[in-house]
């Protein structure tokens, strides 16, 4: 089914790449890394209140954890000198603590030196290796390659491979406040916060950003992705900095936050996946990881502190949702989710994206079969979650203009108050979740998955979730007419919510209900070996995999639609 989307051709907002903040940052990489290392050191000293004993303890904890990581969970990307570096740290620490006759001041200084070595190493590791030439190359490869695949699949005939009939924008629809985003990106600094369901998201968003004519955004990508060579190349050229989820020690986290904050202050547009990791349950993220988000607020406050009160110092938060019919990793994500919710235990990262072959296979499938993706760009907000107008001015709920600086003012001056900013981060997190729900676009596949699961649940009222998921698949069957009536009921409620601006729908949901169901069933989780929804010859609805059905169903939780059952 063809839908009419307006395909824009967006001109780049900065024609010359020398003006891209990320290019400027890459030029000053060395100084920037040093600055991050030094500022992180200050932050940690502050947190340990300049006390050599507390600092020593933190250093020892970090050392212990790093040693453990090297031994138990080594990765390909880890630098070769990891072991020797930490052994060096160990011997310095031993030396400082065993030799007597040092004054407190002297000790602190020596510990500081060790600390600086560590933050410098972390800062260097985190920093991105952006190269504008690689960026251009990657972008053209992605765009060219994908559109060739696409045309080969959709246009019949031998010459199809050279056809220009379809472009990537037919496959991936971008909707929402794109003009505002482009506009604000020229005036202030944008922090984009997308939902996260698949590892493909990083590349997808990178492509969206370039289609919109925006300069590259920097973003934190899981270091595990750099294990795979194709991804490493992509990531580097998209301006990614590295986030190592194995390292949870204070020094690493502070260095990471400092990097993010300084980059935003530098004017680099940034991208955070605020869920922190892919949504394992398939639900829209409802609890956000607030660590990196807090850096946006910190950077905003710092800009005000430095007297940058005009729009050039303003930071805009732009929520984005990515909607799929199909998530490649769904089976393992939901398995993880169920084992975590069952009981809190350690689980190993396990990716379908484990090698380049699988990814290529997926990409070919993706582009040759019809599984459309839509990316909705939400309204821009200030760091407190207030919408902003065309000129980037914040508006309160009643549309009155307000000054974001006022939120940081105490007794007439901008003041630093970490506890206050923590609360602001919580508020912003809640606002982003609200916006995610509003701009989320319901697809036919989401609808049928939701209805099928809820109906099965209703048939088996007495079972709890885990027993429900263990139901033998052959026992499940829903008469088509009941299913259709139920879909209509849910869709009516969704449309009602839509008129209140609380959700959005894809245009194909205005089709006839039989059509919606037919396409929905075709689309939902279309490449899985076991399909979440199947229809037998009598037209009755069943499933091959309850857990997968649960995963796709979860996309519509959080709207109170369950109450219809």
């Amino acid at each position: 089914m063809e839908e009419k989307y307006i395909k824009h051709k967006y001109e780049p907002i900065h024609p010359s790449k020398d003006e891209w903040p990320v290019v400027k940052l890459a030029r000053e990489r060395k100084e920037f890394v040093k600055k991050v290392a030094d500022l992180s050191e200050d932050r940690i000293l502050n947190l340990t209140s300049n006390n050599p004993d507390i600092l020593k303890e933190e250093l020892e904890t970090t050392l212990y954890r790093e040693k453990l990581r090297i031994k138990q969970n080594p990765w390909v990307v880890d630098p070769d000198d990891d072991g020797s570096f930490w052994s060096g740290v160990k011997s310095s620490l031993v030396q400082i603590s065993t030799e007597n006759g040092r004054s407190k001041v002297k000790k602190l200084q020596e510990y500081k030196a060790v600390l600086n070595q560590i933050t410098a190493r972390y800062a260097e590791e985190i920093a991105s290796n952006f190269k504008a030439t690689h960026y251009k190359f990657t972008r053209s490869v992605v765009t060219y390659g994908f559109s060739r695949l696409l045309n080969a699949a959709r246009v019949k005939g031998f010459r199809s491979i050279f056809s220009k009939k379809y472009s990537l924008q037919d496959k991936i629809q971008i909707t929402g406040e794109t003009d505002q985003l482009r506009d604000l990106a020229t005036k202030g600094t944008v922090v984009m916060v997308p939902t996260h369901f698949s590892n493909l998201d990083s590349i997808l968003i990178g492509w969206v950003i370039s289609v919109l004519g925006l300069p590259p955004f920097i973003y934190g990508a899981g270091l595990n992705l750099f294990n795979i060579s194709i991804f490493a190349y992509f990531m580097n050229s998209l301006g990614a900095y590295k986030v190592d989820r194995r390292k949870k020690n204070l020094m690493y986290l502070e260095t990471l936050k400092t990097y993010s904050k300084e980059a935003i202050q530098f004017g680099c547009h940034s991208l955070f996946f605020p869920g922190g990791t892919r949504s394992r349950s398939g639900m829209i993220e409802s609890k956000l990881k607030l660590g990196l988000l807090s850096t946006a607020i910190e950077a905003q406050r710092a800009n005000f502190e430095n007297g940058i009160n005009d729009i050039s110092g303003k930071i805009f938060i732009v929520p984005v949702t990515i909607n799929y019919h199909f998530v490649l990793e769904a089976p393992s994500l939901i398995r993880d989710h169920l084992s975590i919710t069952g009981q809190e235990r350690y689980y190993k990262e396990n990716d379908e994206f484990s090698n380049s072959y699988k990814i290529s296979k997926f990409l070919i499938k993706f582009f040759t079969k019809g599984s459309d993706i839509s990316v909705s760009v939400g309204k821009a907000m200030d760091v407190l979650g207030n919408y902003v107008d065309k000129e980037g001015r914040s508006l309160d709920k009643k549309g009155r203009m307000i000054n974001t600086r006022d939120y940081f003012v105490s007794e007439g001056k901008v003041s630093i108050d970490n506890q206050r900013e923590e609360e602001y981060t919580n508020m912003l997190g809640k606002r982003i979740v609200e916006e995610f729900h509003k701009i989320n676009r319901v697809f036919n596949s989401h609808l049928v998955a939701f209805v099928a699961f809820e109906m099965i649940k209703k048939q088996n009222r007495k079972l709890d979730l885990f027993d429900l998921l263990r139901l033998p698949e052959e026992d499940i069957s829903i008469p088509y007419e009941d299913f259709k009536a139920s879909c209509q009921l849910v869709l009516d409620r969704i449309n009602e919510l839509k008129t209140q601006g609380l959700i959005n729908t894809a245009p194909h949901l205005s089709l006839d209900m039989d059509e919606i169901i037919k396409h929905g069933i075709e689309n939902v989780g279309m490449y899985h070996a076991k399909r979440p929804i199947v229809q037998d010859e009598k037209g009755e609805i069943g499933t091959d995999d309850m857990s997968l059905l649960y995963f796709y169903h979860n996309r519509l939780t959080g709207y109170g639609l369950e109450k219809l059952y």
């Binding site: 009155r400 006022d406 939120y407 003012v409 609360e423």
Partner: protein, 352 residues
């Protein structure tokens, strides 16, 4: 809006000059110039010319205005000290002049409803938590101010006005609000504690009014101290369960705003809620009692809201339920007491 450093010290704003508002204005005026808001021009004139408000003496450091805009411009910190019934409306009149730099602390122990236009508590009957607003939630909903706190605790206006020693608690998610409130209010006679669970503190202050009415009723029936001890202890358990269901923590009920205020109010003939219960037991009807009072007894409205909330919550609150029947369904107080004495409260403490 210019918030440039002016050399003139800012006023502290107090909205409402009821008995509690007047006392707080006087405490604040000991350290800072205070500007109070009153709706009626004659009240404002009275304050500005003779430093009294309807018989209550105010410090010379207090000036008054009828203009919300002037208050918002002159003050960075505002204390809202108005009854819950008019709270939403007053906040709305201030809302256009409030900015994110304002700190707001309120001292109102009541609840508001967040219903659709045309609905009221008579028509909806059942109320969910999302339809109940505490006063801080009203402020967050209606204004752009975020740094919001509340003031609660055993603070009988009459005793405070006489300068007797007392303590209060300021609750806010923001440390700076607590610190600011402490530095503005604390004195040799007035101790100020902090608590970060603002919902818990607000709810404690609200719920204790229900128990205060019951306590007045016991006294009116001529019952003694054993009965009062029983009521306070069971009342506390009820407050804890209700408080939890409404989103507060148990700890806050145990604090100054919960137990502290509960004990004070249940023993005080100065308390309006206590008086309502006392006169009910003496045989007066609710209408006659209300007609005689010049200020609101918050507890009555609270009983009504909590009763409607209980319809949707999976929870029993026998004291509140029976008080509701006494107030609104003409149940005899003796019958209610009889019912409560037979109620199977088997476990003494079931919440820790």
């Amino acid at each position: 809006m210019d918030s440039k450093n002016s050399t003139k010290p800012k006023h502290i704003g107090v909205i409402g000059v009821g008995s509690f508002g007047a006392v707080i204005a006087n405490i604040l005026a000991a350290k800072n110039p205070v500007m109070v808001y009153a709706r009626k021009q004659e009240v404002v004139d009275e304050i500005n010319t003779s430093h009294t408000a309807q018989g209550k003496t105010l410090s010379e450091n207090v000036i008054a205005s009828t203009d919300p805009e002037e208050l918002c411009r002159s003050c960075d910190v505002l204390f809202f000290m108005i009854p819950s019934a008019g709270f939403q409306e007053v906040v709305r009149t201030f809302s256009p002049f409030l900015f994110p730099y304002h700190l707001i602390i309120h001292g109102t122990k009541g609840l508001c409803l967040n219903l659709k236009p045309g609905e009221n508590i008579e028509t909806v009957k059942k109320i969910k938590r999302s339809q109940i607003l505490t006063m801080s939630e009203v402020i967050l909903e209606e204004t752009v101010a975020v740094r919001v706190g509340c003031l609660a605790g055993p603070n009988l206006s009459k005793e405070l006005a006489q300068g007797q020693p007392a303590a209060t608690v300021i609750a806010s998610k923001y440390n700076e609000v607590i610190l600011e409130g402490q530095s503005l209010l604390r004195s040799e006679k007035f101790q100020v504690y902090g608590n970060s669970d603002i919902i818990g503190v607000e709810i404690s202050g609200v719920l204790k009014n229900i128990i205060a009415i019951a306590s007045g009723a016991l006294a009116g029936l001529g019952l003694g101290e054993n009965a009062k001890g029983l009521l306070i202890s069971r009342g506390m358990v009820e407050m804890i369960h209700l408080g939890n269901a409404l989103g507060g923590s148990i700890k806050s009920v145990m604090g100054l705003a919960g137990i502290g205020d509960l004990v004070t109010t249940c023993n005080s003939i100065h308390s309006r809620n206590y008086t309502v219960g006392y006169r009910l037991a003496k045989g007066d009807s609710l209408d006659t009692i209300l007609a005689d009072m010049d200020e609101v007894a918050e507890g009555i409205n609270t009983v009504r809201i909590i009763k409607a909330f209980l319809e949707t919550a999976d929870l029993r609150a026998p004291i509140t339920e029976n008080l509701y029947r006494v107030l609104f369904e003409d149940l005899e107080i003796e019958a209610a007491l009889h019912f409560l004495m037979k109620y199977p409260f088997n476990v003494d403490v079931d919440f820790v």
